[in-house]
Symmetry: C2
Subunit: 306 residues, 2 copies
Amino acid sequence: MKPFKLTILGSNSAVPAFNRYPTAQILALNNAKYMIDCGEGAQFQLSKFNIKRSGLNHIFISHLHGDHYLGLVGLLSTLKLNSRKENLHVYGPAYLKKIIDVQLDYDARKDTGFEIIFHALEFGKSEKIMEDEQIEVYTIPLDHKVECNGFLFKEKEGSRKIIFEKIQEYNIPTHKIKAIKLGADFVAEDGTVIDNNILTAEPSKPRSYAYCSDTKYSESIIPIIKEANLLYHESTFMHDLQIIAAERYHSTSIEAAKIAKLANVKKLAIGHFSARYRNLEPMLAEAKTVFENTELGVEGTVFEIG
Amino acid sequence: MKPFKLTILGSNSAVPAFNRYPTAQILALNNAKYMIDCGEGAQFQLSKFNIKRSGLNHIFISHLHGDHYLGLVGLLSTLKLNSRKENLHVYGPAYLKKIIDVQLDYDARKDTGFEIIFHALEFGKSEKIMEDEQIEVYTIPLDHKVECNGFLFKEKEGSRKIIFEKIQEYNIPTHKIKAIKLGADFVAEDGTVIDNNILTAEPSKPRSYAYCSDTKYSESIIPIIKEANLLYHESTFMHDLQIIAAERYHSTSIEAAKIAKLANVKKLAIGHFSARYRNLEPMLAEAKTVFENTELGVEGTVFEIG
């Protein structure tokens, strides 16, 4: 199985506290990297956790509160200074293009090096916004104070897996293997047909990661995120502040865990913690009362997906 | 003497390296704070070095390369979220207002809480851009790839100092002291006039701080910065890269030290180090060959001024 993992670069909500950084994450599948939100300092966190900027070709921005995008122009500038050649795709609210352009237009930096290909996202519905050879990305409509999308990353179904013992048993030449992986039967020299199902096994089950921040509690996302291998759900407040959470279009630990449970995901990571919490263990303990397989998504934590 | 000190929040040039931050500084005189440049992450550095955001009413931005301003909107957003009431003055290139507005206009955050009073600066000449009860600030025209100002902070001359022995000797009542500080003579009950010069001494010599980043070597700034108690001068490269430094409108360690020597300043702080230098000691040693009283302006260093 290809390595598929999420690294948390920032776990804090808007007001900085306790050396926690604002929201940013790196999802890595094989050698490709996908960035999810890019709060201030995200590029410093990449360096800190030894994550190279190469292979990062897609950046997804959920919404335009500063703690989710203010690191973007700094990262783009660094990539420009690093003589990057590959184009970079940025997905986010249409207004984000204006924010990028007004800054990169100055000193004509926009036109040097690689191209930034901007994809303006829509809101209020789930749709496929990106697809490459290994993954599909869908929006998750969230319920926040401003237009906001979560993102669902779904690994594509791989080809069937060769059973090596069978290859040896039937003495199958190497140049035939690619076709067999794609479903072909094998015809031996004597004309015997060996059915593909004998030679191959089911591909690994595709894995998925659902990112949901920022949002108030909303069960409408459940059909989209169900059975995800990993769900990141914001948990800005502990549950005694449920009313404040709802007023501010945020969620509590219990609410995040409830969504994880209803969606029957394998694991829950919580984050986007309010600056009022220095110690996050009570928050974690509270979430675990509803959904046991919960972890804190704090800076530097790596989640293996599936 | 009022405490007058400079704290370095970031010492690195544009490409992040070795956990050094981009340029930002806090100058504090008494309880007032003045911020000079505001690179990405400046607000995190304030927290790290336990510098409260209160008392910070003036922010000066030298030029619009990202490593000098990208932390500004994050800091402004945090101040908005913290229910700050006092207006905040921002000084910088006119285009900076556009950059701020396009971001704060979103979600109407611009109109909540305090007012941001923007002062568009001119370039190519030194002029007074700010004055309060204790300080005057002048621009220093720098020679960079884009329009760029340094800043000279000049303490105002204080009132004369009371000589307490004389107050006792002439039995002067407390309510007369303020006027004497401001230059009045004292008239005793018997009509004798005691000259102010007998009762008071010269005020402390006003102190000054000159900030010069980013710039290529330029002796034209010397008349403006001369005799400063502290000069910060950028030193992006070591002197073997003098040609590259000039091409990129930056300075070398030797050039920074030469300016310090020609301007006869008391102390030199160097910074804005290229990402190619992990170890900065050779850079410091090189500068000291020309100007002995040089220090590295690295993160967390506090310079007492005068």
